[in-house]
């Protein structure tokens, strides 16, 4: 080895350490970061769940209101993370009247909330509120991740309330071979878990998600901070993402148990055996136009988990759109900012 090579390696190591230390110092100065930013108005709240409207009031608008139904396992501000990374801001800019259902943070009194409460009580309440606020007879739903699964169930149970259904990275078939998350939870004793904890801690879910790619998500991600040292904007972006990733509410015990057992362990949605609130969920009842957006490199909801929807719904206007990225990138990557709002907005305009 040449002395030059030696010197270069030693210098790189020293530089890496310096930049990591610098990034750590700068991160400490930045915290806490602000998320969101798109102006919004409260429409309804029951003290825990909240419904927000973005953009101008929809009453009198020719475009139907769009209600976003996010997952229970994370916070919905990912869809409005910052001005230049905001699906909501882009949809508002495209002229859509956007509503967002924030599920809030379940406390211990919510331990017994079931999926029927979430789908047929809270979501139904929000749809009624959106209809009242906008004057629309039916609403467009955009279900995201687990929220997509809930929106899909609602659309099957109350098809007249839903004008069109867009789904993003939504799991439908939970028993595909490449669904590692599903394989991880297949043998977990959910009854014991919920009986022991009551509500399932968000930290436990985070640990499970990290276990899908432990070195990338726990080591490599933080080493990449060295590349961001000195760039306050990039570090703030990193911090917002970090805040979102680990800002996981506890899960209402009963609803969590039902979701894991019925969907992940028993795959009832695909088997046609799902019953919510005493009513069978028949996906053939979903006859409205459907757009199914999935991500090609999604490690949480692989395409194989989303695509079987095509053969399950009764809709004649069914389309898919593949995003070339992962489960997180579809929210915040530059490519997603360019492509996703335009795709959604275009579909909403075309299928009127």
């Amino acid at each position: 080895m040449s002395a030059t090579g030696v010197s270069a390696t030693a210098s790189e190591l020293a530089l890496l350490s310096q930049r990591l230390a610098q990034a750590a110092r700068e991160l400490a100065q930045l915290s806490p970061v602000k998320v969101g930013g798109t102006p919004r108005e409260p429409v309804w709240s029951d003290g825990k769940r909240s419904l927000w409207r973005y953009g101008p009031a929809g009453k009198g608008s020719r475009r139907p209101p769009l209600l976003i139904v996010y997952a229970l396992v994370n916070r919905p501000y990912m869809l409005d993370l910052q001005p230049d990374r905001s699906l909501i801001a882009a949809l508002v800019a495209a002229g859509h009247s956007v509503y967002l259902l924030d599920w809030g943070t379940p406390d211990r009194a919510d331990r017994a909330l079931s999926l029927a409460d979430y789908v047929l009580r809270f979501l139904d309440e929000c749809i009624a509120r959106v209809r009242a606020a906008s004057g629309a007879r039916a609403v467009d739903l955009l279900g995201v991740c687990q929220g997509g699964t809930l929106a899909l169930c609602y659309s099957a149970l109350k098809p007249k309330q839903v004008r069109r259904l867009a789904l993003m990275v939504t799991p439908v078939d939970f028993h595909t071979r490449d669904n590692l998350l599903a394989r991880f939870v297949r043998d977990i004793d959910i009854d014991l878990l919920v009986r022991t904890y009551g509500n399932v801690p968000g930290e436990l879910l985070n640990a499970t998600f990290l276990a899908l790619r432990p070195l990338r998500l726990s080591v490599q991600k933080y080493l990449s901070l060295a590349d961001l040292a000195g760039d306050r904007e990039a570090l703030a972006n990193f911090l917002r993402m970090e805040q979102w990733i680990f800002d996981s509410p506890d899960q209402a015990g009963t609803a969590f148990r039902e979701f894991v057992q019925w969907f992940y362990q028993q795959n009832r949605l695909v088997e046609g055996t799902l019953v919510i609130g005493g009513r069978p969920v028949d996906l053939k009842s979903v006859t409205c136009p459907v757009l199914n957006v999935y991500a090609l490199q999604d490690h949480l909801v692989p395409p194989s988990a989303s695509l079987p929807l095509a053969g399950l719904v009764g809709s004649r206007q069914y389309r898919t759109w593949a995003f070339d990225g992962g489960h997180i990138g579809i929210y915040v990557s530059a490519r997603a900012q360019r492509q996703l709002p335009a795709t959604l907005s275009g579909w909403l305009r075309e299928s009127l």
Binding site: E12, L13, L113, A132, I188, T196, Y197, A226
Partner: protein
Amino acid sequence: MTAAPDPWRAWLDGWQRLAEAAAAPNPLAAGLASPPGPDPASFAAGYGAFAEALARVGERATQSGGGPLEQTIARELAVLREKFSSVPFGAAGFTPPSASAALESALRAPALGPFGPSQALLQDLARAMTSWQAAAEQQAQRLARAAGEALVAYGDRLRALLARGEQPFGVRQALDVWVECGEDAYARLCADDDYPAIQARALNAAVAAVAAWRAVSDTQQRLLGLPTRAEVEALEARVQAVEKPAATTRPRAPQRKRRSARRR
């Protein structure tokens, strides 16, 4: 003339420093017979082995002037793999406390007399901890095997580069390749039919230990005159019972009138 330090040595020093940090005494664990968190000694031993072997790679490379480096790497990685396979990492880096022979004996004792119920609860807790330990060890063995495979793959990648006459690569690239090899090995492990079940068993055992601990804790709460978990849950159920009717009686969003109704 001073011999130039080997480049391997330079970045391996970084690992060495990390190993020293990992080996530092954990002040939180001082004085505890069974530290409740990660086992610092085990962690340091594993990490030390890793750094030591890699350091030897660098030393040999320096001595040999870079000649038989490929063979050296292969040999040392094999040693490293052997060492890693015996490091007692727990599930997710957590090693539950060991059950001693005395504990085994206590578990066999009958729970009798006025304190029998408390003894039975403690025995349940101890059994749950023992089951957790066994399940965690089984998982740790599989993870250790995957770690060894990752090291071998890492060595293969290095040797391939060297065989082509290329420099190993920079520090960042070396770390990225290490992560890549580790993730690949982990993905293969997860693709095994039985590993997800082994991992689930470890989690189930951990939750069962928490449940047993809560049962013990509830007894203590009751004796101290504090609310037990069962009492708190009863209150929570009452709150829910109050909230649900409130929701159903809440005024619904106004519905649009039907055209036919307006006509009438």
